[in-house]
Amino acid sequence: MSSAYIASIINSTLRSTTPILLAALGSAICSRVGVFNVALEAQMLIGCFFSIAVNYATGSLLLAVGAGILSGALVGLVVALLQVKYKAADMVIGTSLNLLVQGGTTFLLYLLFGLRGVLNDPKLVPLYKINLPVIRDIPFLGRVLENLTILDYICYIVAALLFVWLFKTVSGFHILSVGINKAAAESLGTKATRIQMQMVVLSGALCGLGGTALSMGQVTMFTENMTSGRGFIAMAAASLGMSHPLLTIFSSLFFGLCQGIGLALQNVIKSQLTMTLPYVATIVALVLFSRRSARRQA
């Protein structure tokens, strides 16, 4: 195996990690405040769609990314209202929103663009690919970091910021206290329900950004149901990372690696079989690390 091959696998790992990491951070802050958010998939997919739709309509990258974040946050708001405020069952809200967004984006794709399945147009503006002048010429590293977008870097900054906010600031402690004991936090004057709702909306925004990274990262297009279970993989990543922003980076990188290897193996093994790799890996990883998380909760 040549070093160029390894570099290209790492490169595709980094690209595949971005959407998963952003969504996993969203999942992590939800479980940190004791909300089981199943609608991650919906929050991501709507971000994929609206970032591409606004990109197509305006040609502005800033508006496109903003639309992705905003649409994800809106779905998050629905979750916050129904599930946190009105205490509806988490699985019911999550699954119906996932299906609603899946149907809704397909509906809008046909209604707005008259298309079925895929929106891929030369008019779409791709995100800038970052090729730093000096690093580009370093043999191995240059290939590893080749053509990454700004979002591929931002996701790690977001994780670091979340870590600082949650674990190093007073407002972060308030948030964590809600997840540890909601009644106790409320008795000390923390507006627990409000914090929970804010965190769910924030998770929507993060997933929306993750969806944007998916539809405007390696490719610039929207495909029907293009998240294909990434919301649930992100949930697994957050759970493996024990809902800690920095640990979640590593678990997300693992799932990114599985997708990267899956892509690389497509030349050797039939793609239908390599496509199963991320899903099988998710189950295996959950099983391998289950002991530890069980002990932590006990």
Binding site: A89, S96, Y279, L286
Partner: protein
Amino acid sequence: MKQSHNAKNFGPRLWRSLRQPLIAVAFGLLVGALVILACGQNPIAVYIEMFNKSFFTPYYLFSTLTRATPIIICAMATGMAWRAGYINIGVEGQMVTGTFVATVCALFIPGPPILAGLLAWIAGMIAGALYALLPAVLTWKFQVSMVITSLMLNYVANYITSYFVTYPLKDTAGDGLALQTPEIHELMRLPRLSTTSTFNAGFLIAVAVMLFMVFITKRTVFGYESKMGGFNPSFARYGGTKQVKVMIITMALSGAIASIAGTAEVFGLKYRYADGMLSSTSYAWTGLMAALIADLNPVGMFFVSIFLSGLQIGGSAIQRSLGIPLEIATIIQCCITLFVSVKLIFKVRQKKPVREDVKEGGAQA
């Protein structure tokens, strides 16, 4: 409890259980009407067209019932697991695996076709049950989340069956582009119940599965134990229920029923397994919606499945004639489910805080 039926207050009780779903359906249709209005069409005219082409014309009614067959059975499979507190969202994977195994058995088991066909059904049910046991055992042994594992297994089943029908088992005789297996023997096929449409005996199987569910839930100790396990696990354990045994049987039944859904589609309608035939039609997810709307009541799930199937048939009719995307049906049915969940709000507030806590904790573990 619901078991004791006396005729005197049957009417009021029926109304009480139907009230919330009916209100939710009304709100769902209202949201659909707003969406249709936004498309620049007259909602009333569209709805009349939709329901004419799903329920009020014999030909379309048969299409609705044909499409409802797998949806009903998937709803029962979902209901079986969910009422016991096991959040099985992998019905699609179990259906795909079971159906694929049944089709392969039907194609390759030698001997008299009727006997081979019967064996194929049984093999499919065993495969579906085993595929459902996978997340069950992982949950039991390793406390991993059944929500995630059962969903991941959907993708695995879809991709692996896709591989088989694309390469080793592809039908090379007919259309070279179609990814599908050869047809099963004529004697194995379920009889048609109508001369003018594809309505077939699969629907009777769906009715039988529904009756089986009613029997299990209302008349057996197992049905009671599994419901108690979902309602209040610590009470069930206190009462001496062997929870692992209940979980294994529940999930195995759920997977076996799921496999019947797809097998009935192959043996009654398509006569072969084609790539994506069970996933692109989202039978399992529609069944899940039906189960949620009907609050996991078997008879309710049966009728809601037929209603949702009608929405989809009507949706594809208006897509052809009026150019409104057929996903309008998905939007309406998801909104109905969301509005039904508003009903849960009142229930949760009144009496079920314990159960909700347990469910959330279980799903996160």
